[in-house]
Amino acid sequence: MSVNVKTFARLADAASALANERGARFMGGGTVLMRLINDTNPAVETVVRSTDQSLLHLAVSSGRIELGSGVTMAAVLAERDLAFLHAAARAVGGPAIREAATVGGNLFARTPYGDFATALLALDATVTLAVGLGQRELPLEEFLDRRERGTSLVSAVAFKRPAAEAFRFLKVTRVHPRGVSVLSIAAQLPLASGRITGARIAFGGMNRTPVRAKAAERALEGRALDAAGIAPALAVAAEGTAPADDAIASAWWRREILPVHLRRLLIGPGQA
């Protein structure tokens, strides 16, 4: 039996179809779902799509950034005002994947995929869900925490623009230029008179979903961005992580190199 594809012009109609059909999954760019369909994965019986233009909404202002869930990685890369996110967008697949892969889809990517979501987590993004005829917002962290349960339709993400130079992203991969993450690190490091205040750090590939590095964040509070200042954060960086052994790397190696790469991201490769 072939897969049932339902395409809706209005997002609300797609959301209600998704809620009401057994085995229905929402397709954004198709990079996750098409593979399952090609594999004849029995979990995918019905595919719900939407051609609603609101999904492609991309608004960049000085304070706030809104990305429709259908915005592709290529679209992010084409937006000069989003330069701070380009490293994270480029971390997703090769050029052809990036033309299809969406912001919304990345929130559902299974570890060790999901590098863009890791970046959004460090940006304290909120997720907007289409629920019935309305919308509901929740923090990305909360969304990731419960994404395995139930189907939801993400319509957009939004976050405050980070201060200039405050946002950093690093993907560790064995294969270049395109390889799956061993791990990824995103960090937002606001500085006030040379001291870090309110750091947000997220790790990809270190848990079932991207996670906040809260112990490291706390350890950075009020510290200088130098070798001595970050040392306590490095010591606790792996706290709360639960990486897996997989085909890319072992849990042991991921844990071992996490503080090394965190240090390099924070203060550069040349400093010990």
Binding site: M1, S2, D39, T40, P42
Partner: protein
């Protein structure tokens, strides 16, 4: 950068040629860049059906029952193929050259021996319909203990993997669980050595990963024949294997292939052709059987992993005086080609070096993993890794430059090799010299002057090396570059009951071990179990 060093060995070549040596464009290049090269799947065939197989989820289990009733009724299903439908459901790949015993079914009968072993096939109107129907097949298993480590598999009480070889080793010469190499007296060599080094090396399995996966299409043709479009690397090998398993005369099969999207050894095993032909015979329709990428990665045969122990004895002056190798080839659940790789490995010991005492025992071991097969460098890649790492360690141990150490020990024309044939046409030293020069790797003058040719080894004396055991060089027998078709080999065929002396009559290797059966009764082939 790429350069041809025409200056080296120029006296051995006639370079007065017109087409040979030219950088002529590939005959297939225009097709490749225009997307018009025809691979096996580039045929549009009306009414094509699709075959997919049910694979074992267990590494070792007894099949208690199979219920395919629901699958048979599923939409699009044309035919279920069971083990009992396979006319000759036991084969070994090298049966065509009488190497080994039949040990592998096309579809598992009663026991599955690796995760992914095919159990049953479904032919349907689409791949999707076939896979959906496979999901409806209910198999009940009794799991059996499994073994995954080559040395564990050889211990008493280890689970028996392969019914044909219940002791988990391929059988050589009808009596041994390994292939031997005995040359000189390796223990005497170790006793004499200044430094003895023993190390363990472990290779990884390797997936061939051609961008085109394994596959074939069988199309019923006129007069009861079948046209088979195939990705095989070995057309008649696959044709004859498929004919045997299907119990049809070989001339009922018309194989077409020849343009293949990468192979690297992974398309020799004829994994799709026998069943796709059977499917076409049973349905009377054209059928395609194409591996998914996941199947190719995990259930298509990989290069097997080898575990190799090397023990070397070396003198402070740089001479290697003894080399002992014990190696285990992980064949997976069935033989495929690993038995053969073992012999290739034994022949390669002790590497391209002249070592007076060499000894090896190499085993082909069965474990409960995907059967291994040939891959680029088969039988040799692993040994080269072990031996060349070992060479580096030995050079460090005696404080010698690693390239000079290799040049010193490199085999020269006229040297006796451990498999008891005279070395000829050698060029290892020249390769080392050229590579060192290009890489600005300094070599001392005496090593820059050495040569692979007869006489070129005299410099080894200058390096303080005793070459007295090496054979007296015979006059170089140089043949024309464009050789006659039939070549006189050192050894006549068919085999004589006792080994004749090699050309140039080199002296026998020093002090063969007591009880050596050199010259003892010989078997008609290495296989021992030659069949007629």
């Amino acid at each position: 950068m790429f350069e041809l060093r025409k200056d080296i060995f120029a006296d051995e070549r006639d370079d007065n040629l017109k087409e040979i040596g030219q950088p002529t464009q590939r005959q297939d290049m225009l097709g490749h860049v225009t997307g018009t090269s025809t691979y096996y799947d580039d045929h549009r065939i009306a009414g094509l059906l699709h075959l997919k197989v049910l694979r074992s989820p267990h590494a070792h289990a007894r099949i208690r029952s199979i219920d395919d009733a629901a699958a048979a009724r599923a939409p699009g299903v044309k035919r279920i193929i069971r083990a009992a439908d396979v006319p000759v459901n036991l084969n070994t790949l090298l049966s065509l050259i009488q190497f080994g015993k039949d040990d592998e079914p096309s579809l598992a009968n009663d026991i599955v021996r690796y995760k992914g072993e095919p159990i049953l096939g479904i032919v349907a109107t689409s791949e999707r319909a076939a896979i959906e129907a496979l999901g409806l097949v209910r198999v009940s298993y009794d799991q059996l203990p499994a073994v995954f480590d080559v040395e564990e598999a050889l211990k008493p009480g280890a689970p028996s993997v392969n019914a044909t070889y219940p002791k988990n080793t391929f059988e050589y010469h009808g009596k041994y669980d390994h292939q031997k190499l005995r040359y000189g007296d390796v223990e005497a060599g170790f006793a004499q050595a200044d430094v003895v080094l023993e190390e363990r090396y472990q290779m990884s399995p390797i997936e061939h990963a051609p961008v085109e996966t394994n596959g074939s299409i069988a199309v019923p043709d006129t007069n009861g024949r079948f046209v088979v479009y195939t990705s095989t690397q070995a057309l008649f090998f696959s044709l004859d294997t498929a004919a045997k398993i299907n119990a049809v005369p070989s001339n009922q099969l018309h194989f077409i292939g020849g343009t293949v999207g990468g192979g690297f050894g992974g398309k020799v095993d004829t994994m799709t052709e026998p069943l796709v032909i059977l499917a076409a015979r049973l349905t009377g329709a054209p059928v395609r059987y194409r591996f998914s990428r996941h199947e190719e990665m995990q259930f298509g045969a990989p290069r097997g992993a080898e575990r190799i122990y090397v023990k070397d004895g070396v003198m402070r002056d740089g001479r290697i005086v003894a080399r002992k190798v014990r190696a285990y080839f992980d064949s997976g659940a069935y033989t495929r080609l690993s038995s053969y790789a073992v012999v290739k490995c034994v022949a390669h010991i002790p590497g391209p070096y002249t070592i007076p005492n060499a000894h090896a025992d190499v085993y082909c071991v069965f474990t409960n993993r995907t059967p291994a097969t040939a891959m680029r460098g088969f039988g040799v890649t692993a040994l080269d890794f072990a031996l060349e790492c070992q060479m580096d360690k030995l050079a460090v141990a005696i404080g010698m430059d690693p390239i000079e150490f290799r040049i010193l020990n490199a085999y020269r024309d006229g040297d006796m090799k451990a498999h008891r044939r005279e070395a000829k046409n050698c060029a290892l030293i020249e390769c080392a010299q050229v590579a060192a020069e290009k890489a600005n790797w300094p070599l001392r003058e005496q090593f820059r002057r050495m040569s692979s040719r007869i006489g070129g080894g005299a410099d080894r004396t200058a390096a303080g090396v005793d070459r007295s055991r090496a054979p007296t060089p015979a006059a170089p027998a140089r043949t024309a570059a464009a050789a006659p078709q039939r070549v006189a080999y050192e050894r006549p065929a068919p085999p004589a009951p006792t080994p004749p002396p090699a050309r140039g009559a080199p002296p026998p290797p020093p002090s063969p071990p007591a009880g050596s059966t050199h010259g003892a009764p010989r078997f008609s082939s290495v296989f021992g179990t030659r069949r007629r």
